[in-house]
Symmetry: C2
Subunit: 405 residues, 2 copies
């Protein structure tokens, strides 16, 4: 199941970015499981990675290569996460980087590896290396849609977003793809996002935006609270749009950042909409918090509560569950009397209990929608935060209890 | 569903403790929904309560009365939690205490109220007060089994435990009952435990044991991570066993504490075994941790992971999910190379990856059992902790997605 229309929008080519797609036989024979991004010389790349302590071998290597060189290739395989694979996993990931570097005539530090799929199985590096000639021969600027499909594992639909904005006399293009649905097939667990623009961006600003935009999009979504070992989100800028370099002081910076933000949010939301067994797309807002930490503690406690999530699935305006989740979020000195909770435009909780004007029928009307906002006003500060999640359905259990194939 | 045999053991009478059971019509007419414990003069009581910030009105009052007087009555209603009910909830709970105190000829501060059931509905205090004469008239020392049934809400079976131990020339009796299964019917969410002994116990020791035994039993179980607004666990000592007062220095203290500990653990485990939709009883052990906090962070992250819980339901030895959960538990500097994870007697993870001698067949054999132990050795300190949980099944979703009646 998935929430909302699943049509992939037109993904505009980005000057200086070519993509290639191939079948290496990591997944079932004939399935696309290998994608490459080829960046023009002079491109800059920044990224954020999983915070899981046991991050996968490709995450270690991508992070290291990102810090030492100017990336020219991003190599992504699906079907195998190369996580929990010890020393051999590191060697396998490096073998793929080395082979691609040799064929492309670049140094291995300019290749960033990404893997997604089963945890704990050895990566079939030989099969990936064998498929590299086909992969590199077919790169093209207009294969974004195929790349979006090529990085899918258990996603039910490809995810992409694209924008074009005029900066002065020049058009800047932004395109991005993402994947991740939780773990539809057991042991599959990776969120990946790749966003590219042909804007010329000051590398410091690129890094700053990558962290900031990722923090408020990909780092604000949750399906089941299970952080994967392989999450990565990369922002690439080729500098080929024709205009001057954009720095923090450029007048165009704000507009470009807004367009990038839209792409980040669309890609992150697409993952929630395609969440395992999802039937609802849920926004959880916390306002007037005293700190970002407490706002997020409250938002995630509600977002991860199995009782809240099953009530969402049932379209049941079970506000006691939301209240109980807020109460156990660990916020010191939280005042129940001051707290307000809204479900859409219906007030659930006010003055220490159920709002006087609340009725079950009004609550039910909001809960029956496919897109729902829960707003929690803590009335003790000025911080606002927002996370996105989905409900918890029978299909979630079915999907995750199925035996591995 | 529930795990293991559900037979209620013989619950021995405890000298100085009488229980009464009645139907007040809080639940459906005719259903037992009111229980009272009547303690002999000179009894001592200690207890622990929910840490939810929005604790229910009866929790506020029970805590206050416990600190000011020597309790003589514990009044428990099911069917309504009197939580999220604001000022009116406080007045309703006090009205019940006052009425009982007047009828029994004691002061209201000696009455401790407990409620469990729907959150946010006004407590029908009048109906409870009307049933008090019947309740008090029927108290008896040998009605523990009826009391165990009387405090049930959506539990599928009554829960009790009892021990008799010889201390010198005297027999000490301990009996206890508990309730809680998660939220089998939406908005029901309370864990309650009542343990009584006729031992004569130094009040300071009673408090210390109540905190310590509760911490390592009721505070180490989790069904779905959703802390209720009404949890309470009370330890009562009537001092009528005939022997001398037991203090921390008494030679009998250790033996009595062990017997109490067994009762606490049995009652806490009974709640997990009757967890919503539970098909497995799971012990999660963390050893060689650097601190209690990190041991519990790891244990609860694994215990709450929907992916681990659905794998347990499916009897799928999906060790990558356990590894990923440990990795996201937020423990600084955790070393994957040092970590060992065992499933029963089968080693899953060693030397940074899947153990060499692991086979799917061996893992599957353990996972197919009804009682499973996951042991995680962090190899960085000397702390050992243990929590108990159950799996996550289709029935959990069904139970919690059902509309409220």
């Amino acid at each position: 199941m998935a929430v909302g229309p699943g049509t992939l929008p037109r993904l505009f080519p980005v000057k200086g970015v070519k993509t290639g797609i191939a079948s290496a036989g990591v997944k079932k024979p004939g399935k696309k499981d290998l994608v490459v991004f080829e960046l023009a010389s002079g491109s800059h790349v920044a990224g954020i990675f999983t915070r899981n302590r046991f991050c996968a071998a490709p995450v270690h290597i991508a992070r290291r290569h990102l810090s030492t060189g100017e990336p020219r290739y991003l190599l992504i395989n699906t079907g195998n996460a190369n996580a929990g694979t010890g020393e051999r996993g590191m060697a396998d990931a490096m073998a793929c980087c080395n082979a691609l570097a040799e064929k492309a005539g670049v140094s291995p530090e300019t290749v960033l590896p990404f893997s997604t799929g089963v945890i704990g199985e050895p990566l079939p590096a030989d099969r990936i290396i064998e498929a590299l000639p086909e992969l590199l021969a077919g790169t093209d600027e207009d294969r974004w849609a195929e790349a979006a499909a090529g990085i899918m594992t258990t996603d039910t639909r490809p995810k992409g977003s694209s924008r074009q904005v005029r900066l002065g006399e020049h058009i800047v293009t932004i395109s991005g793809i993402s994947k991740g649905a939780g773990m539809i097939r057991p042991n599959m667990a990776t969120m990946l996002g790749f966003i590219a623009t042909d804007a010329s961006l000051d590398p410091a600003l690129l890094s700053q935006w990558s962290a900031e935009l990722g923090e408020h999009s990909f780092n604000r979504i949750t399906i089941d609270g299970d952080t994967s070992t392989n999450d990565a989100c990369m922002l690439m800028a080729t500098g080929q749009y024709g205009g001057p370099e954009i720095t923090a002081d450029s007048p165009e910076a704000a507009e470009l950042k807004t367009a990038l933000q839209e792409v980040y949010l669309e890609l992150a939301h697409a993952i929630v909409r395609d969440g395992e067994g999802a039937t609802k797309f849920v926004t959880i807002e916390v306002s007037e918090a005293a700190s970002v930490q407490e706002a997020l503690d409250v938002a995630y406690t509600v977002a991860h509560s199995p009782l809240v999530k099953t009530a969402l699935f049932a379209s049941d305006p079970n506000w006691g569950r939301i209240l109980a989740a807020v109460g156990r979020a660990g916020v010191e000195g939280l005042d129940l009397q001051a707290l307000e909770i809204h479900l859409g435009d219906v007030c659930l909780v006010r003055d220490g209990g159920r709002a006087d004007d609340y009725s079950e029928a009004r609550g039910k009307a909001v809960m029956s929608r496919e897109e729902i906002t829960i707003h929690i006003n803590l009335r003790r500060g000025q911080v606002f935060e927002r996370v996105w999640t989905c409900d918890f359905s029978h299909d979630y259990v079915t999907i995750n209890a199925e035996y591995r194939t």
